[in-house]
């Protein structure tokens, strides 16, 4: 594997790992903060709702008491009417008409009181609350008997409390605190309902769909993925360019070194790299200098090898040989040399 490929692989791996980790951390923290926000919103809604219910029951009771007082006052007043009629001289017919008017009014008040008692106003309040943010509402008493249940039209589950709901209610009522938990595609929030004295009178459960939360999460994740992809593409492009910029001079240095080994001195090819102010430039300059020295030395050696010229003066040599061979001793040797050798080898 070449230096370029190895460096590129390393840089890209690092880049991918870094970007993926960052994107993952961002996605997880975004999810957590979105969920936390949704949960907090739900708690606030539920708590406010529970307070409103407690407060409304209080008002109902007070209204009832006021109406009762008014009724007794009206009864007293009615009982006084015959006496007053007699004193003022009203006929019995006139009195009867007056009485009917008064009792009719009282009957109307009685109807209003009954409505309050039946909690009709509460269902209206609850119906207002049901929306895309709240899918279902339960109100229970201390014994977890459902006093009221209301849900959006497309609610597909039973109104009966599930085991997890009962557990949550029990904890919430006992500890007097808000409980939250997930049930499928819903975030459920349980809050105790207290009266003015602070006594827990029951509890309420709100089912909040997490679809919208999930939508927000999906959007967040898509955005994160998009950003990661952009960062990765830019990073990959940059790493390819930068890696090439670093490894290309090394590749050229290597190629030049290989050329020199093969006997081709073309160090001028390195001039571009040698002008770089960094370590690679320094390496190229040192390399050029070295290569030129080697080249010069090689040329010098070649010249010296070529200078090996064996010069022999043939005329002088012939004369020198003759001086020896014309001696009597040599003649004698020459005649007997073969014989002498035979003597040796023959033994």
């Amino acid at each position: 594997m070449t230096l370029l490929k190895r460096t590129l692989l390393l840089v890209i791996s690092l880049l991918v790992v870094t970007v993926l980790i960052t994107a993952g951390v961002v996605a997880v923290s975004a999810r957590q903060s979105i969920l936390a926000q949704a949960e907090m919103d739900a708690r606030v809604i539920t708590q406010e709702f529970a307070r409103a219910v407690g407060f409304a029951e209080e008002i109902g009771q007070e209204l009832e008491a006021i109406l009762a007082q008014q009724q007794s006052a009206e009864a007293n007043l009615a009982s006084l009417l015959p006496m007053l009629a007699r004193a003022t001289g009203l006929s019995e017919e006139q009195l009867k008409a007056q009485m009917t008017e008064v009792t009719g009014y009282a009957a109307l008040q009685d109807f209003a009181a009954r409505r309050i008692e039946q909690g009709v106003w509460l269902s209206q309040f609850v119906d207002h609350l049901l929306s895309e943010n709240v899918s279902a509402i339960w109100i229970v008493d201390r014994g977890l008997t459902i006093e009221l249940f209301s849900a959006v039209p497309d609610w597909q589950q039973e109104s009966v409390l599930k085991a997890m709901d009962r557990d949550a209610f029990q904890t919430a009522l006992k500890e007097e605190r808000i409980e939250t938990y997930y049930d499928g595609r819903f975030l459920k929030v349980v809050a105790p309902i207290t009266d003015v004295a602070g006594t827990v009178t029951g509890g309420t459960l709100l089912a909040i769909p997490i679809e919208r939360v999930e939508d927000a999460l999906r959007q967040q994740l898509q955005l994160t993925a998009l950003v990661a992809a952009v960062v990765l593409s830019v990073g990959l492009l940059a790493s390819v360019i930068l890696t090439r910029r670093v490894t290309q001079p090394v590749a050229r240095l290597t190629a030049t070194a290989a050329d020199i080994e093969a006997g081709t001195f073309e160090v001028e090819k390195l001039t571009g790299i040698a002008q770089r102010p960094d370590e690679l430039g320094q390496l190229a300059r040192v390399f050029q200098r070295m290569a030129r020295e080697v080249y010069a030395r090689e040329q010098r050696l070649k010249q010296e090898v070529q200078q090996l010229r064996i010069e022999i003066d043939e005329v002088k040599k012939a004369r020198q040989v003759e001086e020896i061979t014309e001696t009597e001793y040599f003649q004698h040797l020459r005649e007997h040399a073969a014989k002498m050798r035979e003597r040796t080898t023959g033994e």
Partner: protein, 251 residues
């Protein structure tokens, strides 16, 4: 069949003794019985390479030539001195390095015929396979004799202007003496030269086969007169070249 090998050079200092000693050692390592005789009576030196000191020389070639001993008495088995795994044996017949002896040779000369008899007697008495003659430089009578009776003549030369002419004369003279096998050994070649090119050029110039071209080696220089190179460096390229030279010389 015994062979006589003369190692000659026209000028001194070519590495003649060294080459003789190394070739002898290689032959002995092959299991041959080798006799080495130093006929360079005027300037002897090969004994140093075999680790022989002056005081250890009981007899020399000089003693034989003056009739003071037989030739085999002057031959000394130097094999154990080499301290190497040598299957064969090496007998050295040194020349005396005593100034008086050298002066007497220069003054009186000697019977060259006696030298010839000595060679043959040595081969016969010691039952030698090869007799290596380390000759005196130049072309005097005893050198011409050595050349004349040799089966193989190795002429050592250096790539040096001073050697070219004399080597040419030697080659021509030897040719007239019908030496059966004559080869050149180019020694002490500076590393700036291309060895193959030197070989080709020398062969072309003298019309004579070159048995070896030996580079001027630092190791060779250091060991030049202190020991035998092929024994010290058996795996050195120079050793390999010398072995090749041996086979070329048909030894």
């Amino acid at each position: 069949m015994s062979q006589i090998v003369s190692v000659h050079s026209f000028r001194g200092g070519t590495g003649k003794s060294n080459t003789t000693a190394n070739l002898s050692a290689l032959l002995a390592m092959q299991g041959r019985c080798v006799g080495v005789i130093d006929t360079d009576i005027q300037s002897p030196g090969i004994h140093v390479l075999f680790g022989l000191h002056e005081e250890e020389m009981t007899h020399s070639l000089n003693d034989y030539l003056w009739g003071r001993c037989s030739i085999e008495q002057a031959a000394l088995d130097v094999t154990p001195r080499l301290k190497a795994d040598i299957k064969g044996r090496i007998f050295l017949t040194p020349s005396s390095i005593k100034a008086g002896e050298i002066a007497r040779v220069l003054r009186e000369g000697y019977d060259v015929g006696l030298l010839n008899d000595g060679f043959h007697e040595l081969i016969e008495k010691l039952n030698l396979d090869v007799l290596m003659i380390d000759t005196h430089p130049g072309l005097n009578e005893e050198t011409l004799l050595s050349i004349a009776i040799s089966d193989v003549l190795a002429i050592i030369m250096r790539p040096d202007q001073q050697d070219y002419q004399g080597t040419g004369v030697t080659v021509d003279v030897a040719r007239k003496l019908d030496v059966p096998c004559m080869m050149l050994i180019v020694n002490k070649v500076p590393t700036v030269f291309d060895l193959d090119e030197v070989k080709a050029q020398v062969e072309q110039t003298y019309d004579c086969e070159v048995a070896a071209v030996l580079p001027h080696s630092d190791e060779m220089m250091i060991l030049a007169s202190a020991g035998i190179f092929v024994l010290r460096y058996p795996d050195h390229p120079v050793t390999a070249t010398l072995k090749q030279a041996l086979s070329r010389l048909m030894l």
